[in-house]
Amino acid sequence: MNLRRLFAIVQKELRQMRRDRITLAMIVGIPVMQLVLFGYAINLNLRGLETGVADQANTAGSRAVVMDMVATGVIDPTYSATTPQELMEQLRRGETSIGVVIPPDFERRRFEGREAVQVLVDGSDTVVQSAAVQLAQLSLSTTPTTNLGPARGGTGQVAAGQIGVVSFYNPERRSAVNIVPGLIGIILTMTMVMFTGVAIVRERERGNMELLIATPLSSSELMIGKVLPYAGIGLIQTTLVIVLGVWLFDVPIRGSLLDVYLAAVLLIVANLTLGLLISTKAQSQFQAMQMTFFVFLPSILLSGFMFPFAGMPKVVQWLAEVLPLTHFLRLIRGVMLRGASLVELWPEVLALLAFITVMMTATILRFRKRLD
């Protein structure tokens, strides 16, 4: 071991690293990103779950029960409804994760010690489901005794066990049901962004690009032509995950299969345009992969795939809204697990279309059929 030669290698590595800005960014960026994302994203104590309330009794007692539930911080009563059917609609459309039903005969049920309140929960996310179960187990003996109602002065406080939980969409709490639809999104995000990013940069690296731009090929022919085969590959991957998911894990497809594929196409196109944008920026295949990683990591952690969206702080949620995977997850879980249609889930469709438009515009602005 010759120290001088050893040092020569070390010095050469450091010099090269200093000139490779992306690697430099990764050295600092990866630990910071991991720490912040994991630190914020892994929060299984859900707070502020969007909730619909149908208080059909509308007595002082029923209002007090709702207020007690809200006081736990777990639910955020964003919507009110008049019937349980309405609540189920909201659940299906993904507007709420939890519905609270208080029947008209609440006071009598409470008096008789029967189940007096029902919590409906979208069980497609098992963490949310647990939160609902916990909510139901809260001892409501703290209900103020000063409330004015027919049961006043009696034993009529809602005791534990008087709140029932009805879980929809995944009552058996099988995690495969939650994970498999999301996996379509994860796989498409990883492969589509990387494939397109690398595919175009590879041609530039190998010198093919100079040949291509000297031909009558137009920019749009070149870009769409490069991307189309990958879109096809994406659909094959989607099919593969769905077939295996249904076959091996008995994952339900409650909505229409066409909607499932339309959602997949939206995500594929969103990721391909992102890949194209990366390819206009990356100088080498390695750089394209590094940039893909920067998108992929937050996608996995923040989209709601691994950790429930509601558990993350507001700022991180805003950040997650930018990621196409976040919107796709809401779409695919809505369609496959809750039987919703794309029309009902229009805000997510709109978000993906907006993402595609922005990425496409940026790519076209950046991609010039010139070498300079």
Binding site: E210, L211, L212, I213, T215, P216, S218
Partner: protein, 319 residues
């Protein structure tokens, strides 16, 4: 199309390209006649590739007017692309496609109808000797074969004008000779060819050449014109001690360069007075045994004389 100006395939005036503070191409004027093989001679980094890229519209000139095949460049570059072939310096076909697949791809990109394309590819396969190699992956071929394939690809649409950027830099002498035969066939059929090279023997084969040095056009004409201009300035010295003679001769005023070729020294002089007599005297004064005789100037001399002369003018140097 019969007007005099239309005999030119390329006309460039004041063509300039700056990359930041670096002037890669500095006010170059070019006139390339049709159906000619026009050579671009210059060392690496002299701006040959940059000039070619500007002429085919791949780079936007910082300054200057360019007209190629009657089209204004870069404005009408898209239109031009249908009428030119471009062979890049680095092999730019797809190494993971076969010979035939590469040609099929290029034919489709050039919008040649399917039936016609198949016919044209069959033709090229024979002309460029790929009969046995149609299914071979391009990446597995030798340098000479790759370059032949690249040329076949560049002429698939029968372009009026062909840009070849150092096409023979990675090729053995025999392949180079074959390659040049192909170029003259094409020129004979009416194709204008602009070829860059740093080989003198290749430059000598061109109808006309332009010499680029650090972005500046330093000479332009037929090889014959250019060498004739140097008549009387090249001298051959046969010396008993060539190394010592060389060391002495470079110090003689008026000597531009001394190159040793075996035992003889080839001396290029400035154009003042009788060079041979001056050198003879200098050698005798130094007590060196040598015979001095006049030599025919060649393109290398042209190259040296047009580039050496500029060393004294550093203000013209790029950046």
């Amino acid at each position: 199309m019969n007007a005099g100006a239309d005999d030119l395939a390329i006309r460039a005036r004041g063509l300039t390209k700056r990359f930041g503070s670096l002037v890669a191409v500095d006010h170059v004027d070019l006139s390339v006649p049709r159906a000619n093989v026009y050579g671009f001679l210059g060392p690496n980094g002299s701006g040959k590739t940059t000039t070619i890229r500007m002429l085919c519209g791949l780079l936007t000139p910082s300054e200057g007017d360019v007209e190629v095949l009657g089209l204004r460049i870069p404005e009408q570059a898209e239109e031009l692309r249908k009428r030119i072939g471009y062979m890049t310096q680095k092999f730019s076909l797809f190494e993971d496609l076969t010979v035939r697949e590469n040609l099929e791809f290029l034919a489709a990109v050039q919008d040649i109808p399917r039936v016609q394309a198949a016919k044209r590819i069959d033709e090229l396969v024979v002309q460029y000797h790929f009969e046995d190699r149609q299914k071979q992956l391009a990446g597995t071929m030798s340098g000479g074969q790759k370059q032949r394939l690249a040329l076949a690809g560049a002429v698939i649409q029968n372009p009026e004008l062909l840009f070849l950027d150092e096409p023979t830099s990675a090729v053995d002498p025999e392949s180079r000779r074959d390659f040049w035969e192909k170029l003259f066939d094409l020129a004979d059929a009416g194709t204008t060819i602009l070829v860059s090279t740093h080989y003198m023997d290749e430059a000598e084969r061109c109808h006309r050449i332009a010499i680029l040095d650090r972005g500046v056009l330093v000479a332009d004409g037929t090889p014959d014109e250019l060498t004739r201009a140097l008549a009387g300035r090249t001298v051959e010295v046969l010396a008993a001690q060539p190394r010592r003679a060389q060391q002495m001769l470079v110090k003689v005023p008026g000597v531009l360069s001394v190159a040793q070729i075996g035992n003889t020294l080839r001396v290029l002089n400035e154009s003042n007075g009788d060079a041979a007599a001056r050198l003879e005297k200098a050698l005798a004064d130094a007590g060196l045994e040598a015979t001095v005789s006049a030599a025919h100037p060649n393109l290398e001399d042209v190259f040296v004389s047009s580039t050496r002369g500029r060393v004294d003018k550093p203000q013209e140097r790029a950046a």
